[in-house]
């Protein structure tokens, strides 16, 4: 069974062909490391899976069922969660408000409803504890470190019972210790049967957690093979084009 299956997915933005006939499979609890040069189409691919863009052609199947996402919420309903490359956080908001942005819990007072800040704080505190991140729910995101911001963005994905988590460069702007934490988190997700697509430019991170390595070059998928059967040298060659296809 495949949790996620892309067949012949292409995407063009006007004259730019960002993705060209990409087919890819992801099993339950599997981690795919998605690599490629700047502009190769990695973010575009995960944004299509998350319902931000619609593919120009091609289809997406979740658990062998064909799906079509018009909005991010459609993908969320299918259990797909994404951490965006630029994190998509509101700087003026607290960590807790960011974790719950767009799905705030409401407390009812007769006919009236009010945002339940207490619930948002306690739940996000639990999520941060699970992520082993010293992030305080009441702190404003603007004053946070890169790692804490990352924790806030990742905590968002844990709010619902996600089947697939997409991480767009989660280790780009954080310290070595926090990279280890994020990698632990990815293993943690995998152990719970959650499938992960990890985009990263950092070879060691990708090899540390991925079952499968996929490489995009100018919108085309030029490799999708077991990490154990590949090597950083080969992947580098695939990214640059020194190796045509694997």
């Amino acid at each position: 069974m495949s949790r996620l299956k892309l067949s012949g997915v292409s995407k063009s933005f006007g004259a730019i062909q960002a993705l060209d006939n990409v087919s890819l499979q992801l099993g339950p609890g599997e981690v795919i490391g998605l690599m490629g040069d700047n502009g190769a189409g990695k973010s575009t691919l995960v944004k299509i899976i998350a319902g931000n863009y619609r593919p120009t052609t091609g289809e997406i199947r979740i658990d062998d069922k064909r799906v079509e996402f018009h909005k991010p919420i459609d993908a969320q309903r299918e259990g797909i969660e994404i951490v965006y490359q630029d994190l998509a956080l509101c700087d003026h908001f607290t960590a807790a408000s960011n974790v719950f942005l767009g799905r705030e819990p409401m407390k009812r007072f007769g006919p009236f409803g009010a945002i339940d800040y207490e619930e948002m704080r306690t739940t996000s505190a639990k999520l941060f504890a699970r992520l082993k991140s010293e992030t305080r729910p009441r702190d404003v995101v603007r004053r946070m470190s890169g790692g804490q911001r990352q924790a806030v963005a990742i905590a968002r994905t844990l709010l619902s019972d996600a089947k697939i988590v997409l991480l767009d460069e989660p280790t780009a702007a954080i310290s070595v210790r926090q990279v280890a934490e994020v990698l632990d988190l990815i293993r943690n997700l995998r152990d719970h049967g959650i499938s992960v697509i990890l985009i990263s430019h950092r070879m060691p991170d990708v090899f540390a957690v991925s079952d499968v390595i996929a490489v995009l070059r100018r919108g085309q998928l030029v490799a999708s093979k077991k990490a154990a059967e590949s090597s950083p040298e080969e992947v580098t060659g695939l990214i640059t084009g020194a190796i045509e296809y694997a």
């Binding site: 919420i73 965006y84 509101c90 700087d91 908001f93 945002i115 729910p137």
Partner: protein
């Protein structure tokens, strides 16, 4: 280990209540307004009279009501330059209808409906056509005032039909010694303070202003909310138009000219961030209060009102630099 982690997460920021209050711009603006009032009470006999305080509280209420609408727009990262023209359009609609013999309530609803239509047009062009708020509302500033002139044939209206006295009482009268516009302002301030903090709509206004991209990505219905924001702003202007018509007892097409600038000044002095994401209803009120106290004090001290702009300009610059200093510190 896990204990200390949970402690660290559970920890509140180490700041006293006073430190938190002192970090609020609205606090300092309020202090400035109070100091100005105290100084005036000492320096002139005319300030602390019942008559003068009544006038001050009524005059600032008009600006403050719209400043709450403007704060909502600014907090969402936009701007609404058309509020002054919406004031005159609303005032003209209610005047023309009442002069034509229609009852107050019907005319008031029609005036508010027209104001909401102005906001709807602004909002749709900004949110769905993706045009800059500055340009759209600048166009509306011109168009709405022109509509008011067409409607009235550019003549003054001072007779309001059978409900004439009711209109004058609502806009210019008082209950328990307090002018009616002040009641409207208090209700609006309380309601909007609650709405900003405790409703999703309120939070999304600030989310859109803080990071519109993020708001969209998280599935917030950004476009309809933007439309509603401009409609709310126009609603506050329409409401003020009705109240001002009753207060003045006559309406000309000059009403509300350049009012948008005073309103924006009040919102910014009160802590609304022109980059979006910040602003409070109370701040808008206190900002408007400070501007009116400055205006009043210049009159009472016999200083030419030509100086008014200098003072207000200085306060705008102080307010914005206060914001920068605060952000630089943290």
């Amino acid at each position: 280990m896990s204990d200390t982690l949970e402690q660290a997460i559970g920890q509140a920021q180490h700041r006293s209540t006073f430190a938190r209050i002192a970090n609020l711009q609205v606090f300092w603006v309020f202090i400035a307004a109070v100091l100005a009032c105290l100084a005036l009470s000492v320096m002139t006999d005319a300030f602390a009279t019942e008559r003068n305080l009544f006038n001050v509280s009524r005059n600032f209420a008009f600006v403050a009501i719209i400043a709450i609408g403007m704060t909502t727009v600014i907090a969402s990262g936009g701007i609404d330059l058309s509020v002054g023209s919406t004031v005159v359009l609303s005032a003209m609609v209610i005047s023309v209808l009442m002069e034509g013999g229609y009852p107050f309530w019907f005319s008031a609803v029609a005036a508010l409906g027209v104001a909401l239509l102005v906001g709807l047009i602004n909002g749709v062009l900004i949110a769905y056509a993706g045009m800059p708020a500055f340009v759209i509302t600048l166009g509306m500033l011109s168009a709405a005032r022109s509509a008011a002139m067409v409607l009235s044939n550019n003549k003054m209206i001072w007779e309001f039909g059978p409900d004439h006295d009711l209109l004058l009482w609502i806009g210019g009268g008082s209950t328990f010694g307090l002018p009616h516009p002040l009641y409207v302002l208090v209700v609006l301030t309380v309601v909007m303070s609650v709405v900003y903090r405790w409703t999703r709509w309120g939070q999304y206004v600030f989310a859109i202003g803080s990071n519109e991209e993020a708001a969209t990505l998280t599935g917030i219905a950004v476009k309809p909310i933007k439309v509603s924001i401009y409609m709310f702003s126009a609603f506050t202007a329409g409401l003020t138009g009705i109240l001002m018509a009753g207060w003045l007892g006559s309406v000309t097409t000059n009403l509300g000219t350049a009012m948008e600038l005073t309103v924006i000044a009040a919102a910014v002095i009160g802590g609304a961030n022109l980059n979006g994401g910040e602003g409070t209803a109370l701040g808008a009120v206190v900002g408007a209060l400070l501007i009116e106290v400055i205006r009043n004090s210049l009159i009472l001290l016999g200083i030419s009102t030509f100086w008014q702009g200098m003072f207000i300009g200085t306060f705008i610059v102080i307010a914005v630099s206060f914001d920068r200093i605060r952000h630089a510190r943290s």
